[in-house]
């Protein structure tokens, strides 16, 4: 029984055929069945992961919102309210499903399928760990951009088919916003593609290293800027405040999903919160070193076997998940910190600021790649400076949060007894 040497899912399927069924994968007539089972298994695992991520993150978001707004937030269902998402899901399942008489019924029913498939399709190429990926497509990044466009089609369909003015405005706005912000995202990803020389997501991660100065964000000043541009555009792409104009509740009721109720409505929200993971995963894999374990090379992980191999996979997943969670938290915090943009400001932010800046970044990265030898002394100095700059940004982030807390505490008597930090298991 030869061991599975840590390839992708296809090699795992072939290993199953060879060792468990003792057949040759090239000639056996049921090879396709095992392949199908492998693909379906990967899809079901990803689906479970999305559900288990998107649910609790709604609770995290609401608790964070409560904390930022000096209120409590959901804390009744389960310890600290952690089961709130299950209660919400069951409630939505039991709610009556309403389709307006004037709506375009087939399209109205189709929209949640498009939105959900577009969101879930991205999980094919999003890695979870060193060898944990459904399929490492050669055209990974291009595929990511292509499949997320399905979401735009879904939102537009939902908005138009509802035959409601609010929904129509929401749908059209969301289409305009999502297609516009796809341009800076594509350019920011181009910076990564230039640095890697491949479109595959795993190749992008392997081109970086475990330590912060080996990440693309610290490669040179232009990638450093591109990281923030990508994060900003990804927030817009995920319809997050300050870019949540498609569903701006103060002007559009609920935007494209105004006429939806019950389960169909839930799928739009599901997509939105699952999008948080996608946005975090894309920024992490492109700029923050993905699942790379500091001090352990990918070759060493594939060369290991047995429980060591499993251990490395779990550790790489933990590192990846920690980085993504951090990005997700930043995005959640930004939602409750920043006011919403106006629709004309939204468009000018994209076309007049983000797009020209990403173009400059591309030119800059090309120039740096041409004249600075990777691994040379100049390269090392630049990487160190950028790492220190990144660390300074993080420190500033914490100092700023502390400053705001202290300032508010002096100003508002109601906050006198509020502590700055509660342990997560004993929040108010």
């Amino acid at each position: 029984m030869d061991r599975w040497d840590g390839g992708d899912m296809k090699e795992l399927a072939e290993w199953v055929i060879r060792d468990l069924f003792s057949k040759n994968p090239d000639t056996w007539q049921y090879t396709w069945a095992i392949y199908l089972a492998g693909m379906a298994l990967a899809a079901v695992i990803c689906l479970g992961f999305v559900a288990v991520f998107a649910g609790p993150v709604t609770w995290v978001e609401r608790r964070t919102a409560g904390r930022i707004m000096s209120r409590i937030g959901p804390n009744r269902v389960g310890p600290q309210g952690v089961l709130q998402w299950l209660a919400d899901g069951i409630k939505n399942l039991l709610k009556e499903d309403l389709i307006p008489d004037d709506a375009d019924k087939p399209l109205f029913r189709l929209a949640p399928y498009l939105v959900f498939s577009g969101m879930f399709g991205t999980f094919v190429v999003l890695p979870f760990g060193a060898n944990l990926i459904a399929a490492d497509l050669d055209i990974g990044v291009l595929y990511l951009m292509a499949v997320t466009t399905l979401v735009v089609v879904g939102l537009l369909t939902a908005g138009w088919a509802s035959n409601s003015k609010w929904a129509l405005y929401g749908g059209i706005r969301s289409a305009a916003q999502l297609v516009s912000y796809e341009v800076p995202i594509a350019f920011a990803l181009l910076v990564v593609v230039i640095s890697t020389g491949s479109l595959s997501t795993q190749a992008i991660i392997k081109a970086q290293g475990g330590w912060p100065w080996q990440w693309f964000v610290a490669k040179n000043p232009f990638t450093f800027i591109a990281f923030f541009l990508l994060l900003t555009s990804a927030m817009a792409e995920g319809n997050r405040i300050p870019f949540d104009l498609p569903e701006a509740e103060s002007e559009l009721v609920a935007g494209y999903n105004t006429e939806y109720s019950g389960m169909r409505f839930l799928f739009f929200l599901f997509e939105e919160w699952a999008n948080l993971w996608i946005m975090g995963a894309i920024t992490t894999l492109c700029f923050l070193g993905g699942w790379q374990i500091p001090g352990v090379s990918p070759e060493k992980i594939s060369a290991s076997s047995g429980w060591t191999f499993v251990g490395w996979q779990l550790l790489s997943f933990a590192i990846f998940a920690a980085k993504v969670s951090w990005i997700v938290f930043i995005v959640i915090q930004a939602r409750w910190t920043l006011p919403r943009l106006r629709v004309d400001q939204l468009m000018s932010t994209c076309w007049k600021y983000l797009v020209p800046m990403t173009l400059v970044c591309i030119a800059g990265v090309l120039f740096m790649d041409l004249y600075i030898v990777q691994g040379g002394i100049t390269d090392k100095i630049i990487r160190w400076i950028m790492t220190l700059l990144g660390a300074a940004v993080i420190v500033l982030f914490f100092l700023r949060a502390r400053y705001n807390y202290k300032m508010d505490k002096d100003k508002y008597p109601g906050l006198r007894n509020e502590k700055m930090w509660y342990p997560p298991y004993r929040m108010p």
């Binding site: 693909m39 990803c46 399928y113 399929a135 497509l137 297609v179 020389g197 090309l366 790649d369």
Partner: protein, 133 residues
């Protein structure tokens, strides 16, 4: 290659199945009480005035056109960006650099043109020459 794209297909099918199955399951457990008021369009509680099929602002159309132009250009830039690193190793980095830069310059020129024409402005002033009398 076949396996990879097969996975994509299976993922899309499983996603659609998940939505379909949960909707069917929901149909079994949820109530269904038809009332004419429930089936109206929401328009702040009033009876809706007309349908939502009216002439729409063309600004969105312009944005969509601009996007398509940029998206096609992006699709053409990606292959060049992928081979850049390989060319750099072969010592032909300069050629690739100039090529991509030309592409970027054309894109920037297009952006400047659209900007200058005022198509990126959300609020456009109607100039005297634009109006037909």
């Amino acid at each position: 290659m076949g396996y990879d794209f097969g996975t994509v297909l299976i993922f899309l099918i499983i996603a659609a199945l998940f939505v379909g199955v949960s909707l069917v399951f929901g149909a079994l457990v949820r109530p269904k009480r038809n009332e004419p008021d429930k089936a109206t369009i929401y328009e702040c509680g009033e009876r809706p005035i007309g349908t939502a099929r009216f002439n729409f602002n063309p600004r969105f159309y312009v944005i969509a056109l601009v996007f398509i132009i940029f998206d096609v250009e992006i699709a053409l830039t990606y292959p060049v960006a992928v081979v850049f690193k390989g060319w750099l190793k072969e010592g032909m980095g300069g050629i690739a650099f100039v090529e991509i830069l030309t592409f970027i310059a054309i894109l920037a020129a297009a952006l400047a043109y659209i900007w200058g024409k005022g198509n990126l402005e959300w609020m456009r002033e109607i100039k005297e020459k634009d109006t037909h009398k």
